[in-house]
């Protein structure tokens, strides 16, 4: 084999290598179509608290709504349908919804299903007393249903926190785990 030959043989090798590698490039780039938008199932867009006075009266609705969930830049809306009445007991039911998917995702059902890993915690300024009305299978509180007893008239801040406590739930607030929800409402209590 002369040297020139071996050089050309090598060049041929190089060219063949490139052409052999090209199909790999092609296959890998055409394997998948365009990505599709993801509709996350776990996103919580809406938290609603339905407060129904025990023994009748005007129900009150607290609503937190974030149209694009925790990703998007649009600001969430807080809506409070009206004032609470002083010295009144309300039954509060929390509903968590994912409105980015159709039909809407029922997140409260997921929380209820995993009741022994979740706990709602409530923080108030003091004149609304909140007590648990439900529990998980271990007898520990859950908080999807609570009872709110209002005190004297005034302005109140209520913070609702959902703690995810896989394997660490003791029923204590805040306890160990991660926070899935933390929403604060300003409510007015009138006589």
């Amino acid at each position: 084999m002369t040297r020139t030959n071996s050089f050309f043989a090598f060049l041929k090798t190089a060219i063949f290598t490139i052409s052999a590698a090209l199909p790999i490039l092609f296959f890998s780039s055409c394997e998948k179509g365009d990505p599709k938008p993801v509709n996350e199932e776990e996103v919580i867009t809406t938290l609603e608290v339905a407060l129904v006075p025990v023994g009748g009266g005007i129900p009150v609705n607290l609503k937190f709504f974030d149209v694009d969930g925790e990703h998007g830049s649009s600001a969430p809306l807080h809506t409070v349908s009206g004032p609470l009445k002083a010295s009144t007991t309300y039954t509060a039911t929390i509903e968590l919804v994912n409105e980015t998917v159709n039909p809407h995702g029922d997140i409260s059902a997921e929380v209820e299903e995993e009741a022994n890993q979740h706990l709602f915690c409530f923080e108030t300024d003091g004149s609304i007393a909140i007590e648990y009305s439900d529990e998980d299978e271990n007898g520990l509180p859950l908080g999807l249903i609570t009872s709110w007893v209002t005190g004297a008239a005034g302005e109140e801040e209520v913070t609702i926190v959902l703690r995810h406590q896989a394997g660490t739930k003791t029923g204590q607030c805040p306890g160990d785990g991660e926070t899935d929800v933390e929403v604060t409402f300003g409510v007015t209590v009138v006589d």
Binding site: F16, T17, E70, P76
Partner: protein
């Protein structure tokens, strides 16, 4: 894709077998110097078998042409010096250097060095050799590299180490794994390189910009991981290693076998594998729950070497599963505040090997095919192809039985092709080459059901470079230039609804100029100036969304206030000018390596808090990728003092000063000053024990006084976005640790068994490391005792 790969393998096999015909046209070059590195002219160099005699020229160099491949016995004689006879393997990886010792000295030792062709001659480099590596076996790559002054790591817990060279990491550091540019998912701070350090017999770190040869990824430096070269062996040989670590009760096992197909055929092979299983690490006061790891790696290589040509096929697979400290997973800023305030992680369980959520699973597969051919009057042509498949799955804590589904699932397919021509003449040598890379990154969102943080993208890039060096017995001068082209296509969404496919074309240049001066017999000055540029990575441009588990939202450079920008003119390339100089002094007992560098980076990409956003989980900080001008300068020093034949003292020091010049601020994640002193006592054989040594070292890490301002998580609210870059907690105070090591070899039959016993953080000191992102949640690891056994049955 599989079929193409098989075709490629068969094709290469065919070519290699085809070229098996004998022709003796190897060239062996060398340099003859005295013990003070002064070249010796008119020395007689002969090949004993063929009785070919050559006299070295005025520069002390000699060239033998038309040699057959194989082992040649070479004799060098010169009046007043001891005659040296040694064996050299042809083809040799580079020019050989023969050091002659004056006749009066009693130590007739010949030292043969090969010139590295993988790097510039004017480059500042430091490395880990086989011996040091064997004492580090079982550790992740990034942790092993911390032994080198100037190299540090950005850490996420005890098992995820991201290497950092002179303050730069991720997109600015290139890892060359067995000659292939590593293409993995290393864009995030918690993404460690997908490399098994067990394959390496030598690791070298180049600290200057090596962008001319390797492209923009080498802006901050290169980590070169070299397995031992495939070689002809008479019998099947190999190595077995076993490592046991007390801290996380880890067991590491690795094995290697190698051999030749048929004697004289030129074909040889190697198989290697390693397995790791570790449980929870522990800090002095508690377990670091869920920090276990598993790893299984294997590789195989087949190579052929003949007169002036050779080829190699190399396959490797890296597979790991890593637990992330359970207590480091935070839902919102309140959670994080609680963790910072508490001295103890909120989740501490008993030791277990089990790995629960959150966790990472990474698989990286590599196919390398390389070939070279020596062509007379032209040089050596090399072709190298690398195909890589990297899969990263990250598992979060999810609701409603979704835990089995990853929250992040990325697949990266990459193909690299390098063709280069290296030439070597007496007075000058150099390379020209082209590189091509094609990368396709996709998210498996059907699997995750989570919006991806990093969008899908395709990247096609090519580069052309030219490097040339001129040498003399007093100096080497080197210059080079490179042109790169990159096409990037990103697949992303506006408002998570409308797909857009912005495309970009980038053209950029790099250059290098360097010199090595041998201005005094024992002094050497190496100086290199490099300019390099790189367009921002797809992750820096288009990241979007909630970084799960870190309670923060990240947005790329091309996302501003909910808009997605697509105009090419808005992208600014990062542009670095780095000057690095090293002064080396090599004396009889004392050797010193002192380097200083200055790196001026325009449009430096970094991540900065810009806003806070109210979500259903409360306020989150929004971190936006931004660009600024930065300066990083510093110094690395290493000193070795051989007090006597038995006692060696070592000192290492490194310091970095980093500044954001546009905002007159500090940079985040810059390693604090480090100072390490060690003492090694080597003893001659004690009974049957050989190469006995015992060493103590005290690494000191200083407090980072130039840390960003502190804004505790709860102080973040909608009305007060910090203007400057901030950290959630102050930099921890400095600390000193105590490490010890003892090693020896025991002969077993014809071979030897190496035993290394070492202890780290012997005093079980409680500390937190500024460079560990989990310092907000827990202390660093406590004392760790390691036993490493290494049985070598290599027969070469």
């Amino acid at each position: 894709m599989k079929r193409a790969a098989v075709f490629l393998i068969l094709f290469f096999l065919g070519v290699a077998i085809n070229s098996y015909a004998q022709n003796c046209q190897e060239t062996l070059r060398g340099l003859i110097v005295d013990e003070e590195n002064i070249p010796l002219a008119h020395a007689a160099v002969s090949i004993r078998k063929t009785q070919t005699l050559i006299i070295s020229d005025a520069n002390g160099t000699f060239v033998f042409r038309n040699l057959c491949a194989g082992t040649h016995s070479i004799q060098v004689t010169f009046i007043g010096y001891d005659t040296q006879v040694f064996e050299v393997q042809v083809p040799s990886a580079g020019a050989i250097t023969v050091r002659l010792i004056p006749s009066r000295t009693v130590l007739p030792n010949v030292i043969i060095e090969s010139d590295q062709i993988s790097r510039s001659a004017s480059q500042t480099s430091a490395g880990l050799q086989e011996e040091e590596l064997s004492a580090l076996h079982g550790k992740p790559l990034g942790e092993s590299l911390k032994e080198i002054p100037g190299v540090s790591a950005l850490q996420t817990g005890p098992s995820i180490f991201k290497p950092m060279i002179d303050g730069l990491h991720s997109q600015r550091i290139l890892i060359l794994n067995n000659g292939i540019r590593q293409e993995g998912q290393q864009w995030g701070v918690e993404h460690a390189p997908e490399v098994d350090p067990y394959i390496a017999s030598q690791i070298e770190v180049l600290k200057g910009a090596e962008t001319v040869r390797y492209g923009s990824a080498a802006m901050g430096g290169v980590i070169i991981i070299n397995p031992p070269p495939l070689h002809q062996t008479e019998k099947i040989g190999g190595e077995l290693n076993l490592g046991l670590m007390s801290n996380n009760r880890m067991v590491v096992f690795s094995g290697l076998v190698e051999g030749s197909m048929k004697e004289g055929s030129g074909w040889s092979w190697r198989l290697q594998s390693s397995v790791k299983k570790g449980g929870d690490y522990h800090a002095p006061k508690y377990n670091l729950s869920n920090t276990g790891l598993r790893e299984f790696n294997f590789s195989g290589a087949v190579g052929f070497k003949d007169e002036g040509r050779g080829m190699e096929i190399y396959l490797s697979s890296f597979n790991t599963r890593l637990g992330i400290l359970r207590a480091a997973h935070t839902g919102n800023l309140n959670d994080m505040q609680r963790s910072i305030e508490s001295n103890r992680p909120w989740y501490v369980e008993n030791f277990t090997y089990a790995i629960n959520h959150p966790k990472q699973e990474i698989n990286h597969h590599l196919l390398k095919i390389s070939a070279y051919q020596q062509v007379r009057d032209l040089g050596r042509i090399s072709v190298l192809y690398g195909g890589q498949y990297d899969q990263r799955n990250e598992f979060d804590i999810r609701r409603s039985g979704r835990n089995a589904r990853p929250s992040l699932s990325l697949n990266l397919i990459s193909n690299v092709l390098d063709v280069s021509l290296d030439h070597e003449h007496t007075a000058h040598s150099g390379s020209v080459g082209i590189n091509g890379t094609m990368k396709v990154n996709t998210n498996d969102t059907d699997e995750t059901g989570v919006r991806p943080l990093l969008p899908d993208f395709q990247q096609l890039s090519g580069g052309l470079f030219l490097l040339e060096k001129w040498k003399n017995n007093k100096w080497i001068v080197e210059a080079g230039g490179r042109y790169d082209f990159q096409h990037l296509k990103v697949f992303t969404f506006i408002n998570n609804r409308d797909l857009i496919k912005p495309e970009f074309n980038f053209n950029f240049l790099s250059g290098t100029l360097g010199t090595t001066l041998l201005f005094k017999p024992k002094f050497r000055l190496v100086s290199n100036f490099g300019i390099s540029s790189r367009p921002p990575h797809a992750s820096e441009l288009y990241s979007e969304g909630l970084h799960h588990g870190t309670a923060s939202i990240e947005e790329g450079l091309m996302r501003k206030d909910g808009d997605v920008l697509t105009e090419q003119s808005l992208i600014k390339k990062e542009f670095s000018r780095k000057w690095i100089s090293t002064l080396q002094f090599t004396g009889q007992g004392l050797s010193l390596d002192f380097s200083v560098y200055y790196n001026d980076i325009n449009n430096y990409v970094y991540i900065k808090p810009t806003a806070t956003r109210l979500t259903v989980r409360g306020y989150f900080p929004v971190f936006q990728y931004e660009q600024t001008d930065a300066v990083l300068m510093g110094s690395d020093a290493a000193l070795k003092w051989k007090v006597s034949e038995m006692i060696i003292l070592n000192s290492k020091f490194s310091y970095i000063y980093a500044r954001d010049t546009q905002h007159d601020d500090v940079l985040i994640y810059i390693p604090p000053a480090q100072f390490e002193n060690s003492f090694t006592l080597s003893l001659p054989a004690i009974g049957k024990l050989q190469s006995f040594y015992v060493g103590l070292s005290v690494p000191i890490t200083f407090h980072q006084s130039r840390a960003p301002m502190v804004v505790y998580p709860l102080d973040i609210d909608a009305n007060a976005t910090p203007e400057r870059v901030f950290d959630f907690a102050p930099a921890p105070k400095g600390y000193a640790l105590l490490n010890a090591r003892l090693g020896f070899k025991v002969p077993v039959h014809d071979h030897s068994l190496g035993i290394i016993l070492s202890g780290e953080n012997l005093l079980n000191t409680t500390y937190r490391n500024y460079m560990n992102r989990l310092r907000y949640y827990s202390d660093d690891t406590g004392s760790n005792f390691m036993l490493r056994l290494s049985y070598n049955f290599l027969s070469h």
